[in-house]
Structures are given as C-alpha cells and as structure tokens.
Symmetry: C2
DNA sequence: TATTGTTATACTCTATAACTATA
DNA sequence: TATAGTTATAGAGTATAACAATA
C-alpha cells in the first residue's frame, strides 16, 4: 500500500527518488534513535554525562558494588570501553572503585555523593524526556512498539550472523 | 503497569537492576538499529560500501546528476561528510562528477558502470536483509511500527529543542 | 589456564570552521 | 552577499590486541 516511492523533494522542487532506501527500516530506526538521543541531550543542557556514561553511572547507582565485567555485559560494551569510562568517572569524582580481598582481580564500583547527585539530576531530566517520547508514541502503541524493537534485537542476529 | 524492574541477570546469577534504564526507549532504539545495521553488514561481507556510502551511491543511481547539496539534504548529512564520501567514491571509480556550464559551483554526480554494478549487488543483499527484518517485524505490525518511528523523528524535535 | 581489568592504538562516522570558486 | 563544494581538524564512541595481575 505505502509503496508510492515516497520521494523527498527539497525546497528547490526537485524530487529525489529514494529507491530501495525507501524500504530500509534501519534508516528509520537510526533517525528515530538520533531524534530521541538529541531530545535527551537537549534537556540535559550542560549538566550532563554522555549518554553511554549515564548508562554506566545508573547501573552503578542501582547496583552498588557492580563489577566492570557486569557493567559491560549489561550495557553491551567491551570491557575496554567500560574501563575508559570508569577511569574518567573516578577522575571526576563520580565513582570510587574497591578491590575486595576475596578476589583482587575485580574492581567494584560505587557512586560518590556527587555521583549520586548527578545521576539523580540526569534521571529527572530523563523522565521528562521519556514523558515527551511516550506522548509521541502514545500509550496505546507503546508496548507493542517496544516489543517489536526487542524482537529485532533478539531474533535478527540469529538469522544474519551465520558466516 | 510494566514496572516489574525487568532485571538483567547474568550467568553468574547476580541480578542487575536497570532502574530507569528499563524505561529508556532510546536504548531499545539504539539496540534495534545496531542489530539491523549488523545484519546488513554481515550479509554484505567484503563486497561492500559502508552503510552511509551505500545510501549516497543509491541516491546517485536513482537520481543521476544529483548535486552534493541535494544528497546532503536527503541523507541528512553535512556537506563536508558528503564531499568526503564523494571524493572517495570518485577515487575508487564508482562515480564521476560533472560541473555544468549553467552553474559552475555545483558538482553533479553520476555512477560509473562499476558504481551501478556495486549498487545492484548491495541492493540485492539489502533486500535479503529487509526480508529477514520484515519477517521479524511481521507484515501485520510493519506499517504501524514504521509510522511510529516516523512520528518520533517528526514530532520529538518540536517538543525538545526549545532552548 | 582462565578471568579481570588496563592501556595503546585505531577505526567509523560525523560535524565545525575556514577556505575557494562561483553566482 | 549567498551558495556549492573542499579541506583540515577534531571528537564522539567504540573495539582489538597485547598486557599485568590474580585466581
């Protein structure tokens, strides 16, 4: 039905044919992700961490004593990326890391008072962002929408990465 | 309603609490985008352009004589990013650029035979990717899903970028 | 040997700013 | 002045690989 070769015509009037790009769900996914990302960043203003760092700090606040391996597994980031983020956060007084005696390989992270405070401020802004996003999506569509996103993440790799 | 603090427990058995991250639609969007992106890349194997370059080449194939400004506007990329891509594609024999007499500022791009051939091969792989993605989404949900993504892109910036 | 984490390095993708050349 | 495009540079954001310490 929606196969009207949805062209993009600029202000100059020229119609740009999108061809197969028209069907690329990935392009819509990226555009939506970028829009959501930008909305959150705009709401944070200057008082913020990068989104990836916010994710990590939030995991630490919610799970005091979490290890870097656990953070990486949960946030789906390589341990080296986590290490870099943690070092920055420690240098900036947001987290402290402890090496327990029972296993001195691991580094357990906890948020400092400053870390907790920043996370709370960012979470508050995050909730405003979510309210705007949810208003756009609509409560009637929200669950089905997220469920579809989840299924893409879970089921697509099984089909695709068979080489 | 869905506030059961959907935790993530790793193989070690420890439950990681996601807290507010649980509600972050942006995380699901990014994960889904990355999954789609990876699936496409896996299918392309070595015979490929980067996804952004494929977008540009496809625009050129579908719109011979398109200008760089038009490409940038359609692909939502800065002219400098487009210029870099075009130079690489020209150096690698995929496109040629012409400067018309009526306006010698503009560069109009056309695909070479090699460019057309590569685009066709990539488009074929892209269609396989889309088939897998559409199978995951399901034809009954597809239109509503894409419509939601579109609305996020179109409506969210209006609410968020008011500073 | 396996695991945790660190570091150096590099890659992808993209934008900003200063620029040239045209119009 | 405004527009099209180029170039140098920078900076997220992330991963790979080699490594040290510990188990």
């Amino acid at each position: 039905m929606k196969d009207q070769q949805a062209d993009s015509d600029g202000p100059n009037g020229r119609e740009i044919k999108l061809g197969v790009l028209n069907d690329f769900v990935g392009m819509y996914l990226r555009a939506a992700y970028e829009a959501a990302f930008t909305d959150f960043a705009d709401r944070l203003g200057e008082d913020r961490l990068r989104p990836g760092y916010f994710t990590i700090l939030t995991l630490i606040v919610n799970n005091p004593g979490i290890s870097q391996t656990e953070i990486g597994r949960t946030a789906r980031r390589d341990k080296s990326s986590v290490a870099k983020a943690l070092r920055w956060m420690e240098d900036n007084g947001l987290v402290t890391r402890l090496r327990p005696n029972h296993d001195r390989r691991t580094h357990l992270s906890e948020a400092t008072e400053e870390g907790y405070a920043l996370q709370r401020r960012m979470e508050a802004r995050g909730r405003e962002h979510l309210a705007a996003l949810n208003a756009t999506i609509g409560s009637d569509r929200r669950e089905a929408f997220i469920e579809t996103l989840r299924e893409i993440v879970e089921r697509l790799p099984e089909a695709g990465s068979s080489d």
